[in-house]
Symmetry: C2
Subunit: 296 residues, 2 copies
């Protein structure tokens, strides 16, 4: 690979991920490696093992003025969201924390308390970790999960004609503080994979436009969004709903017949959990361009 | 739990780990949670799953003047060392990297290259990760492994009369730069568990005195060291060999008969891999006090 004198800020997060991905060879025994919400690994006859990790850094994802319980919650919950997006259930977590010497002990205890409460709520056991000194607070969680082979959903299975759904309203997550309180969509995801057959699924961390883009790339397909149908939080513009990210709602696709069955089921419940927002098309060039909405 | 106004620097790393440990309940389905080199989790009839994680931070564990391949190597190798210390073999890893915007792309690529080379050398597949912006470089690796149930070794099985061994010379690892180049003792560990029955094992990351202390605490035993027998690197004092840490040699105990068999085997090989450094005693108060050697 060519050497370069560029800095990380010049190639951006996705440029860096792409460059590093090239350095990692595809390995034997891995069902699915880098490039989905979680890695899919061999487990037993009927199930796969899932493994994912997320890092949060002070000054980038949170500050010391935010509630520490919320920071702990988010560090674990965004991993639970990844496992949910594969159709699986989370099981065991290990937690690394980098702690500045001048940090009040109670702050870091409260980070842990928030994490432990979320672990309990979602059936996760925290089984180990690492505690180190660092200049700023850093929290990393690695989470294991399991999924029945028949229930595994990746980013790569969307088919032309599929309906595109999201599990809730989008936008303004960082500004509103919702990103520290969100409920990972484990329940809805398990409902979906047990009763339906989603073709593709991802959690919305980068924003609807960006994460739909990940599904389209992996599925080699295009998409048409019904912009009027995209559920938004109060006071949120369409551009924000498309681009803000950190929503941790799920984005998934269903074949036409199943999509209609899901809509019928919702009508019978008299309650709306899944919002249709568009359809998958065969034209790979048909992509919702997030940038074209930045002036909304 | 009582609230306190203390700062992290006032209670230290082990004080903090102790405080956080209390917040994590013991969970069902976990064979062994927090408090060993790796967590031990259910897998199948004959094997356990192992899970461990380690975080390295710029300015604490390394600087930008150090070879980036060495940083990548260490980030993975210290996890491989943890898996080895349980008697297991490493399998799959996920890697989180926090990267400052002003960092040359080549630096972080070289961190990855170092990690990938070590992964290949030890049969590990890197299957995913997270890349974030951060003020200083942070590297976190979470590593899965497997161990046959009959080969699992914890910190807790040392028995009075056991011989204490280490796998190589100690001390001066940070000063000499060895901590960026060490070979995790996976081969010796697997040799031991396949041919012998170590009662307790740990990798030496905190220093011989400290890590032996972990074994003694978990095994509710004491120990007597033969200070003259402790193998040291050239130019390293006894105090350094006892306290320096970051050696990543293994420390283990064997029953008398097996210890003698191991010595016989080494005599036949005409080569020394395992160094006897003392014996386990029944007196829990008998602890090698690292501090008493700081004047050496």
């Amino acid at each position: 690979m060519q050497r370069t004198s560029m800095h990380v800020s010049q190639i951006g997060e996705f440029g860096l991920i792409k460059a590093l991905k090239k350095l990692v060879p595809v390995s034997q025994g891995v069902i699915k490696g880098i490039g989905d919400d979680a890695a899919v690994l061999p487990y037993n006859k009927s199930e796969y093992l899932l493994l994912t990790t997320d890092m949060l850094a002070e000054g980038v994802h949170f500050t010391r003025r935010m509630p520490p319980e919320g920071i702990g919650h988010k560090a674990l919950a965004c991993n639970i969201s990844d496992i949910a997006a594969m159709g699986g259930r989370p099981t065991f977590a290990v937690v690394s924390i980098g702690v500045p010497g001048n940090l009040p002990v109670d702050f870091i205890k409260d980070v842990y308390r928030g994490m432990e409460r979320t672990a309990k709520d979602f059936g996760v056991s925290i089984v180990g970790g690492d505690t180190i000194k660092s200049g700023k607070i850093v929290v990393n969680v690695a989470l294991l999960g399991r999924v029945e082979k028949k229930n595994l959903v990746t980013r790569g299975g969307a088919k032309p004609g599929d309906w595109i759904f999201v599990t809730g309203p989008l936008g303004g997550s960082l500004k509103s503080g919702r990103h520290l309180k969100f409920v990972p969509r484990l329940g809805p995801a398990r409902f979906l994979v047990e009763r339906f057959t989603p073709h593709a699924m991802i959690d919305i961390s980068d924003g609807l436009a960006g994460d739909l883009g990940h599904i389209l790339e992996a599925s080699r397909a295009g998409a048409r969004l019904d912009y009027d149908c995209i559920p938004r939080h109060k006071g949120v513009s369409l551009a924000q709903a498309l681009n803000d990210g950190e929503d941790f709602e799920l984005l998934f696709t269903l074949g036409t017949r199943q999509a209609q069955a899901l809509m019928d089921w919702q009508a019978r419940q008299k309650s709306f959990y899944f919002y249709p927002v568009g359809t998958i098309t065969a034209d790979v060039k048909e992509k919702p361009d997030a940038r074209s909405f930045t002036h909304f």
